[in-house]
Amino acid sequence: MKRDFHVIFSLFAASSRLQKKRAYLTIAAIAWGTVAILLLLAFGEGLKRQLDRNRRSTGENLAVMWPGETTKPYRGMPPGRSIRPRIDDLDQLRGRMPELKAVLGEIVSWRTALTYGRKTVNGRVIGVNWEYGDARKHFPQPGGRFLSPEDQAQMRRVIFLGDEMAKNLFGPENPVGKTLLLNNSPYLVIGVMQHKTQMGVYGGPDANHATIPITTFRAQFGRERLNNLVIETNEPEEMKGELRKLNEIWGAKFRYDPTDERALGTWDMVKSAKTTRNILIGIQLFLGIVGALTLLIGGVGVANIMYAVVKERTREIGVKMALGAKRRWIIVPFVLEGVLYTLIGGTMGIVIATLLVTATSFIPIEGNKVLSFLGRPTLSPQIGVITSLILGAIGLLAGYFPARRAASIDPAATLRYE
């Protein structure tokens, strides 16, 4: 064993001295492949993180439901009946499902005239509970606030604006503290939403709507039928059970079959987040495979060079065998040589890719439409591990196959003639 090590090391040291010049291009190919796989994976990782962040900007552990029509007969009643929950049904539901983090109602008024000074825009106004701000991530910009329990209890005429809508109506002015007219009733602007890149949208982006207390909405518009019901659980895995329970409670109350999926249309964001995650894993896998193939081409380059070396040194190998070299003493130095090229190229590639990824972190992401969706390439430890494993495997294989050919050389055939 010790002797093996000594012999192999001596032979390897002697042969790698010779190969320097030939190795440069191969090493460059491996470095290039490594850069490709790392950048592709970093891009995938950045995309994943950004999409995750964008998805969370709608809210976490949410489900949105909208009342529809029954499609199954229930207790002698025909299908096709409308389900009509009202504001007061929220309190009752809250009482039956205290484990939920939030039970929220939305009543929507589409194309509502909002006037400030001489400017009027038609926009979406939604009546919501005060807990809506946290659950749906309507965070106020500094100097403002979201709707409060008092606003709701006292039916105050206060309004919280999406940032796009605020810009349309007020331009560069700070809207907070100003009064605008909503269908000719004065409302005090109490806050403007912080900008967010939003993935999950229903009705429209949050930036383009305004929210007022649900009680005020009832007084203003004389409507109390809910357009949407939003529930929030504490943990994502609770969502499925809570939705079933909710359908059982409301199925009994509004007389519909709890398994009737159309009575209460449901968007389970937990479930769609899982789907999105799976798609992202698929994308990352795809990017990884593309990168690995690029790297493989580098590996083929290494193997190619090693084959050329074997061919060129056939007689030398034959001589060594005649002098008593064992198979492994021929094979291992070749494998080591392949691994060495791969290692050097891989290290160079990792350094270059890290520099490139670091460079992209200096590009501002705010206000950049592409980056705010795609995110910023990110290198994670897993990416490092995966790339190293692929590099190692390619190095071993690229060295092994030529080495095996070297070991299969018949010394008797190579020694005799020039």
């Binding site: 001295r17 060594k320 005649a322 018949d410 008797a412």
Partner: protein, 230 residues
């Protein structure tokens, strides 16, 4: 060593090359006995099978059938690595085209079999220098083969062949690539080695050189046709 003192004991050795379509019988039953201290020349025209015989004697190849003992060890049915070890310890090769490794120095070339034989680096360097000194190249230890003349390269090869102190030195047309002066120098070197008690087998088609051996074995068409003292 074998009980009757023979280094090489071959009985009814046959070698068939199967090229897929055609089977070529290169050796058709060779019986050969070589004793310690002999200097044997194997002669024959090209195509006679003497190269095949050399491969078998040197354990570079194995016979299709027959019995072969090298220094008392049966060579039949051993693995490639075991064969490599036998070559390393028992056989010293000298080739027509020298077959030195071109990128390393003379002394490193001589050390190569000792590296495979598990000799320590210091001992290797000591023995290699001594051997090169003995063949008259004590001044050229660090020269690369390309910096040496043909005769000098062949002397490095002879030093290399002796480095593991083998039971037999096997030379294949050792003067074939040399001018007549260098060739006769090399033959003198072989004669010296024989006189020091080495066992040598030299393959040649040059009868003048063969006459310097103690015994001449002639091969024709895969058979021994004549075996006589020189």
């Amino acid at each position: 060593m074998n009980k009757n003192g023979s280094i090489i004991h071959m009985a009814d050795i046959r070698k068939v090359y199967d090229t897929g379509k055609v089977k070529v019988e290169a050796l058709k039953g060779i019986d050969l006995e070589i004793h310690a201290g002999e200097m044997v020349a194997i002669v024959g025209p090209s195509g006679s099978g003497k190269s095949t015989l050399m491969n078998l004697v040197g354990c570079l190849d194995t016979p299709t059938s027959g019995e072969y003992e090298l220094a008392g060890d049966n060579v039949a049915g051993v693995t490639r690595d075991q064969l490599a070890e036998i070559r390393n310890r028992r056989v010293g090769f000298v080739f027509q085209n020298f077959n030195l490794l071109p990128h390393i120095s003379a002394v490193e070339n001589v050390e190569m079999p000792m590296l495979f034989g598990g000799i320590s680096p210091r001992e290797r360097r000591k023995r290699a220098s001594e051997l090169l000194d003995r063949v008259g190249l004590g001044e050229r230890l660090d020269h690369k083969p390309t910096e040496l003349s043909g005769g000098q390269m062949q002397r490095v090869a002879i030093a290399r062949a002796l480095s593991m102190n083998p039971d037999i030195v096997l030379a294949d047309e050792p003067t074939g690539n040399l001018d007549s002066t260098s060739g006769s120098d090399i033959m003198s070197l072989f004669t010296d080695l024989w006189q020091q008690g080495r066992t040598l087998v030299i393959i040649t088609h040059d009868l003048a050189l063969a006459k310097r051996a103690s015994r001449i074995v002639e091969i024709h068409d895969g058979r021994v046709t004549s075996d006589r003292a020189a």
